[in-house]
């Protein structure tokens, strides 16, 4: 007998044994839905999301009678009757192709997931749960910074991108490439990677500006500005970028609740004209008060930002509160208006607003609301809130908030999905959650970014997903040009002009 038939017979025999092993045994119905992790029960997902692989939470907390399972199986059935099966020893894995097809067929509808676990003698079958599939797709990917949740010292700091329809992750920039550098504030024009700004910090650092195929390495420090560029916001037309200029400091809490307090001793906002290579500074936005987190409106005619009056810091850190403000912007001249309008007076209600982000469709502004301060990721009390620009009302997004931090957020290009940062998992690591939001601002239950093996991935993670930004296509950084420019210290100086 040749080798191949022998091999095939052996395989079949093995499969038969495995099947028999699991085929027998009664099925014990459990009267509750399964305690899966990540919690994907009743979540709303985009049609093009990667498979929501999950595991069963360790159950010994609940009762000693709860068994541990040696195998998990899940059937996911669409409203159209099609289904796929996922299984695994520790976690349920779905095939990429099968999952994608199932979601496509059931876009706009829901999926019913039935999970069972094998305890060695019998199956335990749980009450099915639902996953809602929204027909509106999410963007191609998510760009984020991998950084340890440290204090004053950074080690490995990398900018990564993750394709959302798969588990493919790749490094855009790793700081091993140019030693003794850090990278931050990656930003894109409405998710378009053709318009990309990134700060590289350190002695060889500068601002990377990639726009429509060109690469520039900008030295944004001038004699007339207090610091280099910080928080960016691209104008929808792609010509201007609003940057804040921040002198940021940290202090550290002594009790267990919070760890770090970040504040600016100086912060201003300027407009950078990419065409003229010139910083445009207005007296209105470069005062002794704290102006920060600029964001252009969807139509480009307004600039939103956070504003706080000057405080004696760090002594008065608990009194530092920011309002949400707006100033007009003229895209033809690059000039801002002469009057600041307060959009939300958070100070009057004893709150502070941070990181406002208008939706691309111009309907909403998503922002972080905290009790005080400016850096929401360090405040457990930080929550997400939504301003409806149609009627100027705002509310907390209870479905997205948790007892721990919710902060940095990014809209998808179709304004239906938001990725936001949360520390709800363990209070330390910042993880990305994705939530659905409709035209009226109604939200679906958010879900943790899916991973191939979520328990292992998140269980061994030592760095946070910092500043997640949704992008419409893969990001290509001109790494060789960056390396050359940095190592040769070839930085393009920017000009400065007052516009008042």
């Amino acid at each position: 007998m040749s080798f191949l038939p022998k091999y095939s017979l052996a395989c079949m025999a093995l499969m038969a044994i495995v099947a028999c092993h699991y085929a027998g045994g009664e099925v014990v119905p459990e009267d509750s839905p399964p305690a899966i992790w990540p919690d994907y029960k009743e979540v709303t997902v985009p049609v093009n999301i990667a498979p929501l692989n999950f595991t069963l939470e360790k159950t010994t907390l609940l009762s000693d009678e709860e068994p541990a399972f040696s195998r998990l199986e899940a059937w996911v059935e669409g409203a159209d009757g099609s289904f796929i099966k996922g299984s695994g020893k520790r976690h349920v894995r779905f095939s990429m192709g099968g999952w994608a097809r199932l979601l496509e067929k059931n876009a706009g509808d829901s999926l019913l997931v039935t999970l069972r676990g094998w305890d060695g003698k019998q199956w335990h079958s749980y009450r099915p749960f639902t996953i809602y599939v929204n027909a509106r797709p999410i963007d191609h990917g998510m760009v984020f910074r991998y950084i340890a949740p440290g204090y004053e010292v950074y080690s490995k700091v990398d900018i990564y991108q993750r394709e959302l329809s798969s588990f493919r992750t790749s490094a855009i920039y790793e700081n091993t490439l140019i030693p003794q550098t850090c990278a931050n504030c990656h930003s894109f024009k409405q998710g378009d990677p053709e318009y990309f700004s990134l700060h590289v910090r350190g002695e060889k650092g500068a601002t990377v500006l990639q726009k429509e195929g060109t690469f520039r390495y900008l030295d944004s420090r001038t004699d007339s500005t207090s610091s280099a560029f910080s928080y960016p916001s691209w104008h929808p037309d792609g010509r201007y970028i609003a940057y804040s200029l921040n002198k940021t400091y940290q202090s550290f809490h002594v009790t267990a609740e919070d760890r770090v307090e970040v504040y600016d001793l100086v912060s201003d906002i300027v407009i950078y004209d990419t065409q003229e290579n010139c910083i445009l500074a207005s007296d209105l936005l470069t005062t002794g008060a704290f102006e920060t987190f600029p964001k252009f409106s969807a139509d480009g005619h307004s600039l939103y930002f956070c504003l706080a009056r000057e405080q004696d810091l760090p002594t008065e850190y608990r009194d530092l509160r920011y309002n949400l403000c707006r100033v007009d912007f003229d895209p033809l001249t690059g000039e801002t208006g002469k009057e600041i309008h307060t959009v939300i007076d958070a100070v009057s209600i004893g709150k502070s607003i941070s990181q406002p982000v208008p939706s691309p469709d111009g309907r909403h502004i998503l922002f972080s609301l905290l009790d005080f301060g400016t850096f929401p990721v360090n405040h457990r009390a930080s929550e997400l809130a939504l301003l409806d620009l149609e009627d100027n009302t705002w509310r907390l997004l209870d479905a997205w908030n948790s007892p721990d931090v919710e902060s940095y957020h990014s809209w998808s290009s179709n304004s239906r999905w938001v990725v936001f940062s949360s520390r709800r998992q363990d209070g330390l690591l910042v993880l990305p959650y994705i939530g659905y939001i409709d035209e009226q601002g109604n939200t679906g239950k958010p879900f943790l970014l899916p991973q191939k093996d979520p328990e292992h991935f998140y269980g061994t993670l030592t760095r946070s997903f910092n500043c997640p930004e949704l992008v419409t296509a893969a990001v290509k950084l001109e790494r060789r040009k960056l390396e050359r420019s940095a190592n040769r210290m070839e930085r393009e100086e920017v000009r400065f002009r007052r516009i008042d």
Binding site: A35, E57, K58, L61, Y154, P179, V254, T255, D426
Partner: protein
């Protein structure tokens, strides 16, 4: 004889690292975090040089016990020497076997006709690379993975030499070159250099092989055209591999070739290590080039079992007197050079610093003080260790000035962005009950490790601080990683018991309406933690009121810490010590009343009496009316000090007063610059 030499060399290495630099080895161990398991393995090896890094980490974990670390280093360096010798032997054209007093034993006999056999003259040179690496290892930042990579390169050369003839040997080289680059990085340069000259020297004549059959050692490569076509491309490839690697990994070109994990400071180069590479490549070449002495002759005995065709009695040089003298001189020179280098580079100052650090970590307080008495502490960080030991031995209040204090920095060092100082300070903060500061320093010390590695010691401290703070999920993460180590596993598994039952991963439905941060408290074993001698005590004495850490107001922070919990006597003692060291007598007099109110009969430690007496006489003409209980002895000594100071004021009072008053607070105030 040669084996004995190797053993003696190895013994020297072992004793040196075990007895002279044991804390250098401990230093290595605590700034790496080798873990068993597929994750760490895959994370490590799926990078250029990853295998060297992995193996280096594997060895380094044993440095927790200096004798084991010393033994490992000795074995590695001995292996290096033996490999270099083996390569040199083969480069001579001798297939294998020992060279014993003019005869070759074993099955390999004789050389091809006309070949110049080897000579023992060069044997001491084979110690050069190992000896140099021994010197390099005196630098605590030169990593074991560099030694592993060097060994892999030498081993590759040896394998290549055994690869048979002509094209198969060339093919083996090119395969090994690619593999070696991935496993060991830039040490592939050594391999390539050896390849270039070994192929150049290869003659193509038949020589007896291991079995006695005639083999063609180097067929076809004697011709330069073949050499150019088959050998020279290796040079181009060795520079192309890093370029190809950069497509997949983001490292600078020069780091891929020069070493990613060989020196702890990733962003600095360490050029001295390339001397070791050059030696490893050059020694076999030197041995090949050094001619045998002409006056020598040697008879070779050929075993009877060998075929007639190889039974050729060649007039081979015997190690004559001249060779022996030169060989001996080489031995002495290399030994002397090594010893000189060890004296020069041993870094005993750093060894002392590392010793303090480890003794503090292991809470061996008496030994800290013994060390301080043996050699005067030279730096603030050493004084931090001494003062911490003084507290733990109950002598801080009485013997603070028996040691050369240098100001408040010797008590509590300001934050420095390095990976040593914050680690020491994290211990101080933890003992004080400043849990968040302990955690911050431990974390930042780890982040400051310049080759991006993690630290098992930091992980342990982070687990402890998170348990104390009730952040059990975070603590569990650290403990799970520590469970994958050999030497921290047991501790981690014991510590996990304090975490209580398994927890939910933030499943709010399960937790019902308890959407407050107290959820985590339900998940720890609170009773056990409260009863723990360290966790429970620190929980009781830590800060209760929220505020921000103030590096400029450390004594105020200690004051608040103490007032938050009067059980925290260490905070009180440190607060007083801080003001004394800062020469802030006003504040000292204010704080002292918290435990020693005016009019109290409680006996003040002598340094406190000295300080209060000095404080009083600065504002009063005498000690009359001083509200604290100052002993007669202190009063008299103050008078004596004053008198002597005035006597020698025009000259060098510091010197005159040191003998009788060098351990008083007064001496510190007047003569210590801070």
């Amino acid at each position: 004889m040669r084996k004995v030499c190797s053993l003696v060399f190895g013994l020297g290495v072992f004793l040196f690292f075990w007895l002279v630099l044991p804390y250098h080895l401990r230093f290595h161990e605590q700034f790496q975090f080798f873990r068993f398991g597929m994750d760490y393995f895959m994370d490590s090896v799926l990078h250029p040089e990853g295998f060297s890094f992995y193996l280096g980490g594997f060895f380094t974990q044993f440095f927790r016990y200096p004798w084991a670390g010393a033994l490992i280093i000795a074995l590695l360096l001995m292996l290096m020497q033996r490999l270099v010798a083996a390569i040199a032997y083969r480069a001579q054209g001798i297939a294998s076997g020992r060279w014993e007093s003019g005869s070759i034993s074993g099955s390999n006999t004789g050389n091809a006709p006309g070949r110049v056999p080897g000579n023992p003259l060069w044997y001491p040179l084979t110690y050069l690379p190992s000896a140099f690496v021994w010197l390099l290892l005196c630098n605590e930042n030169y990593l074991i993975s560099a030694v592993v990579a060097l060994l892999l390169a030498l081993w590759a050369v040896n394998l290549y030499q055994r690869a048979g003839d002509g094209k198969s040997r060339i093919a083996v080289f090119y395969v090994l070159q690619l593999v070696l680059f991935f496993l060991a990085g830039g040490t592939v340069l050594i391999f390539t250099a050896c390849f270039l000259y070994l192929e150049a020297f290869c003659t193509g004549e038949a020589v007896p092989g291991r079995t006695g059959r005639m083999e063609t050692a180097c067929r076809g490569t004697g011709r330069w055209k073949t050499y150019a076509l088959q050998v020279l491309p290796a040079v181009a490839l060795v520079f192309l591999y890093p370029m190809a690697a950069r497509i997949f990994w983001q490292y600078p070109y020069e780091k891929l070739l020069g070493g990613l994990h060989f020196y702890r400071y990733y962003y600095f180069s360490y050029p001295l290590q390339y001397v070791a590479w050059a030696l490893a490549a050059a020694v076999p070449l030197l041995c090949r080039l050094i001619p045998a002495p002409k006056s020598c002759s040697m008879k070779r005995r050929i075993p009877a079992a060998c075929p007639d065709s190889v039974k050729q009695q060649i007039a081979a040089p015997k190690p004559g007197r001249g060779s022996r003298i030169i060989s001996a001189v080489l031995c002495v020179l290399i030994t002397a050079g090594t010893v000189f280098g060890l004296f020069r580079f041993a870094g005993l100052d750093k060894e002392r610093l590392f010793e303090y650090d480890i003794l503090v970590y292991e809470e061996q307080w008496d030994q800290v003080l013994q060390r301080a008495q043996k050699d005067t502490p030279g730096s603030s960080i050493e004084m931090v260790a001494v003062n911490l030991a003084l507290w733990h031995t109950g002598r801080l209040e009485t013997e603070l000035f028996h040691y050369p204090q240098q100001g408040p920095e010797g008590l509590m060092l300001p934050f420095r962005r390095d990976f040593v100082t914050p680690l020491m300070m994290s211990q101080v903060y933890l003992h004080l009950g400043m849990v968040n500061s302990a955690q911050r320093n431990a974390y930042d010390a780890m982040e400051a490790i310049p080759d991006f590695q993690k630290s098992a010691r930091s992980y342990k401290l982070l687990a402890q601080t998170n348990i104390i703070n009730g952040h059990y999920r975070v603590a569990r993460g650290y403990l799970e990683q520590l469970s994958k180590t050999l030497f921290y596993r047991k501790w981690a598994q014991e510590a996990m018991q304090y975490l209580g039952n398994e927890e939910h991963f933030g499943n709010e439905e399960r937790l019902g309406n308890e959407e407050h941060l107290g959820n985590e408290d339900r998940l720890g074993d609170e009773e056990r933690i409260a009863a723990h001698p360290v966790y429970g005590r620190i929980r009781r004495i830590r800060y209760r009121d929220e505020m921000l850490f103030s590096p400029q107001g450390l004594n105020a922070m200690l004051d608040i810490l103490y007032r938050n919990n009067r059980e925290n006597k260490m905070a009180y003692a440190y607060m007083l010590a801080y003001t004394l060291l800062a020469k802030d007598l006003e504040r000292f007099a204010d704080y002292i009343t918290l435990e020693y109110p005016s009019g109290s009969d409680k006996t003040l430690p002598v340094p406190y009496q000295e300080a209060l007496a000095l404080y009083w006489v600065q504002n009063n003409s005498s000690l009359e009316g001083i509200p604290w209980n100052i002993s007669g002895d202190v009063r008299k000594r103050l008078d004596d000090f004053t008198a002597m100071y005035q006597q020698f004021a025009g000259g060098r009072p510091e010197r005159e007063l040191k003998k009788d008053f060098g351990k008083t607070y007064w001496y510190y105030v007047f003569f210590t610059k801070i």
